[in-house]
């Protein structure tokens, strides 16, 4: 792999730096797992002066065996624990599982439930991105950008609480629809809060994205070219920031995304700044999608097709994926005719984005490490599953 990305800036070490001959110059830092800038993982960073010679991400501190646990529970009782890896984005991480189970069991979803699912998924995407953005802000030492998204996130959480009854772990999607219908007068409240939310997040440009220090700090750092982004298998905002127009919502529309007008936000640069900006643009796009869904949603109707108590399908296997907050999240479910799945394999976006980290960090300055690391839209708990 390294010789393939030789055109990458990450490969070019600073002049005079030879790893093998001057080993005593090199200091090894264990960034994490108890480090304010790491999350639940460790990055073994070897530095020469201020330059990172080598970075070795070491995830796995929060491995919870979700896939193994899924094999001993039936299709319905799998729902609450399969959303645990990303509780901020629980609707989206559950979405592919629910779609897959519907394929296995073979039931149709009512039209209203499909729209409710889209609204919940887009609200949840905003919740996740706000949380991610808050941490990106504090990683760069911008404490206001830590507080503002964390506060504005409450708007979306309020809406989700009205919809589902829970603030973060919703367990809202079930095979055959959603758990319960929208509360009365939800459409008006949702429209009002989403409009205010959009107005608020547009203000982030003034203090964060147009900030000259932020631009100078993150532009041209950790550049991931479009070829490398494809080769390393990145997905989601990282891929779109490198100039690849790829979004599962458009390429493989699920539920009613093909009836909605979804745009993707593609930036060409592939640097940390672009990677930090794409999720923010995604949030604005999510607001548009929610408004469209609120217009087109059928005003009445069922939101749930009744399942029989212990649903089971034939001997089959299915792979479904959705666009989560961190990129395409896929679930591969094998059914052997029993009420429990034979195997559930989760393919989250986080782990695929993490693969790019050592290539991006090599040759960077130590001060760029948090800016590059967290711009990869990586959620440690989801990657460890």
């Amino acid at each position: 792999m390294p010789e393939q990305i030789s055109d990458n800036q990450a490969e070019q070490l600073p002049p005079g730096l030879q790893i093998d001959k001057v080993d005593d110059r090199i200091m090894t830092l264990n960034v994490g797992p108890q480090h304010p800038g790491s999350g639940h993982m460790r990055i073994i960073v070897r530095i020469d002066g201020d330059y990172i010679v080598d970075a070795d991400p070491d995830p796995g501190y929060v491995h919870r065996g979700e896939e193994k646990m899924a094999e001993s529970r039936n299709y319905i009782t799998n729902i609450p624990h399969l959303e645990r890896p990303v509780i901020h984005d629980s609707c989206n991480i559950l979405y592919p599982y629910v779609l897959g189970v519907e394929d296995i069991v073979g039931i149709e979803v009512p039209e209203r439930a499909k729209y409710v699912r889209v609204i919940a998924a887009e609200l949840n995407r905003c919740v996740y991105i706000q949380y991610w953005l808050a941490i990106y802000g504090i990683f760069l030492g911008h404490s206001t950008m830590f507080m503002w998204p964390a506060g504005d996130r409450e708007l979306m959480i309020d809406l989700l609480e009205k919809m589902t009854g829970a603030r973060v772990t919703h367990s809202y999607f079930i095979p055959g629809g959603v758990r319960n219908d929208l509360p009365a007068n939800f459409e008006d409240v949702c429209l009002r809060q989403v409009n205010y939310f959009e107005k608020r997040i547009k203000e982030y440009a003034d203090i964060f994205y147009d900030n000259p220090i932020l631009k100078a700090r993150t532009e041209d750092t950790g550049v991931l070219s479009s070829q490398d982004a494809i080769r390393l298998g990145t997905t989601g905002s990282v891929l779109r920031a490198s100039g690849i127009d790829y979004d599962v919502r458009i390429k493989e529309p699920y539920d009613v995304y093909d009836e909605l007008d979804v745009h993707t936000n593609v930036l060409k640069d592939g640097d940390s700044y672009a990677r930090s900006k794409v999720p923010w643009l995604d949030m604005l796009e999510s607001c548009n999608i929610i408004r469209q869904a609120l217009e087109k949603i059928p005003k009445s109707g069922s939101v749930r097709t009744k399942l029989r108590p212990n649903p089971k399908g034939g001997v089959t296997e299915v792979y479904r994926r959705v666009e989560s907050g961190r990129g395409s999240a896929g679930m591969y479910i094998i059914s052997n005719g029993k009420p429990e799945p034979y195997r559930v394999k989760i393919s989250p976006g986080s782990f695929r984005n993490l693969i790019a980290l050592p290539y991006l960090l090599k040759g960077e300055k130590l001060g760029n490490m948090p800016a590059v690391y967290w711009s990869l839209n990586y959620w440690p708990v989801e990657a460890d599953r």
């Binding site: 200091m27 830092l29 480090h35 304010p36 800038g37 201020d50 802000g137 504090i138 990683f139 760069l140 030492g141 911008h142 404490s143 206001t144 950008m145 830590f146 507080m147 503002w148 506060g151 203090i207 964060f208 900030n211 220090i213 932020l214 100078a216 700090r217 300055k365 130590l366 001060g367 760029n368 490490m369 948090p370």
Partner: protein, 458 residues
């Protein structure tokens, strides 16, 4: 490897108390009392109005205003008071403490939250005291194989250096400065030069990687920003022709130097932010990169001392900015607005209420009474003011200006992210030094064009 705390037993408690009492008695008898006696033998006791003030007179003095007042006045004008209380460390620590509180509340308002709220009922006013108590009660942990003497002494040195910096700042007219040096500005630079040494020593002695990186960063930052810091003040020195800070303030009685040298002020302010390690220049304490930088291994009150030192340093830098660019204590004398007589000796108001004469006597404040032997009436404009009036008014102006500068030092924390080390060095070595030379040329141009003479505008 956990240590279970022993259960409380009255016998252990009593033993502890008796131990403390025993050692207190031993130490006081062996060291304390001889020291007091030697001090009384050799020390000079003050003479107030022809009477030697001894310890026996202490209680008499406390309840006798006419005798207490002179001794308080003599205390006010003593060196110890200046070092410990008013223009020195006590004053600076008070402003530093209020700075911490204001910073928390202001930043909270900026970020749509409330900040400290519960401690002390009113807007969390006692939060700082609570934090101090917490820090004092915490265990001090020293890393294995650390260089213990240096590690112990570094926070103390940091506070001491900050206090030395404070002692050079003139606060009010009439010599209200701890050390009034003819080379005051040079002494300031000399004191500032100690900070990187203390930082790197403490970082190196901790035997830990993150403090080491933080210390190296602090060294880079402080050394590279000291040069523009010094150069930006050179224009003022050229125009005033003196290094004495009090004389620099007096040269600005008509106009503050910021009007003629805004570039120098901007350069100085930026370099000041870097010297103070405040956002956007807080690289030595960048938490997402190197945990807490050179403060990582400090725990308990050692950390508290470093924080105290850094806020005292913040006050000192803001005060230096005020002294050099904003005219220090100069400003119209607006307080007290009354006659000097009313302030010092009090006033008697008599009015006829129909039945009888009602007489109200207000007490005076003879502490600031002008002593004709020592304090000469100073003239400002048409009106004559006593030195007491000038002192109070000057201090108020000085504090107002300092608070304004501190506000501007705190504000970037809510607006800017952290900068990177190469950008920092680029700013320090290219942009700020270039701008400070522009400032020097402006000063020289003003001087040789004859617009401003040496000594400033009078």
């Amino acid at each position: 490897m956990s240590v279970i705390a022993p259960k409380f037993r009255l016998a252990y408690f009593l033993k502890g108390v008796i131990d403390v009492l025993f050692w207190a008695i031993i130490l006081v008898t062996l060291i304390g009392i001889p020291a007091i006696q030697i001090g009384l033998f050799y020390g000079n006791l003050p003479v107030i109005e022809g009477e030697l003030v001894t310890a026996f007179l202490l209680f008499t003095l406390m309840f006798h205003p006419e005798m207490a007042l002179p001794i308080i006045k003599s205390l006010l004008y003593s060196d110890l008071f200046r070092i410990a209380a008013f223009p020195g460390f006590g004053f600076a620590a008070l402003i530093a403490a209020s700075t911490i509180f204001v910073e928390r509340k202001m930043l909270a308002k900026l970020q749509l939250r409330v900040g400290p709220f519960y401690c002390g009922k009113v807007e969390g006013i006692l939060q700082l005291a609570g934090d101090g108590l917490k820090l004092i009660s915490k265990e001090i942990i020293i890393p294995a194989k650390a260089d213990k003497p240096i590690f112990w002494v570094a926070p103390v040195l940091f506070v001491a250096t900050a206090a030395a910096f404070v002692s050079l700042i003139p606060v009010a007219p009439g010599g209200w400065v701890v050390a009034d040096l003819d080379v005051g500005l040079l002494a300031v630079f000399a004191v500032i030069g100690f900070f990187p040494i203390i930082t790197i020593l403490s970082a190196w002695s901790a035997n830990s990687k993150y403090p080491f990186i933080g210390g190296i960063r602090a060294l880079h930052q402080m050394v590279s920003f000291e040069i523009p810091l010094i150069l930006s003040l050179l224009g003022v020195v050229i125009l005033t022709g003196t290094l004495n800070l009090s004389e620099i303030v007096e040269s600005q009685s008509s106009f503050p130097w910021i009007i003629f040298m805004p570039i120098g002020a901007i350069v100085f302010f930026t370099a000041m932010l870097a010297e103070l390690e405040r956002i956007p220049f807080d690289l030595p304490e960048a938490e997402s990169e190197i945990v807490a930088g050179w403060l990582t291994e400090f725990s308990g009150m050692m950390y508290g001392l470093v924080q105290l030192g850094s806020y005292v340093k913040l006050y000192a830098f803001a005060a230096l900015f005020v002294v050099i660019f904003l005219g220090g204590w100069t400003g119209p004398v607006f307080w007290p607005p009354l006659d000097e007589q009313i302030i010092t000796t009090g006033l008697e108001i008599t009015s006829y209420t129909g039945d009888a004469f009602l007489t109200i006597a207000t007490p005076g404040l003879p502490l600031f009474d002008a002593d004709p032997n020592e304090w000469i009436l100073q003239k400002q404009g048409e009106v004559m003011y006593t030195s007491g009036q000038l002192l109070i008014s000057g201090v108020i102006w000085f504090v107002l200006k300092t608070v304004a500068v501190i506000f501007f030092i705190l504000l970037p924390r809510g607006v800017f992210p952290r900068i990177r080390i190469d950008m920092l060095l680029h700013i320090g070595w290219y942009k700020l030094i270039g701008l400070s030379f522009v400032n020097i040329f402006i000063a020289l141009g003003l001087l040789y064009a004859g617009i401003l003479g040496p000594g400033g505008i009078f």
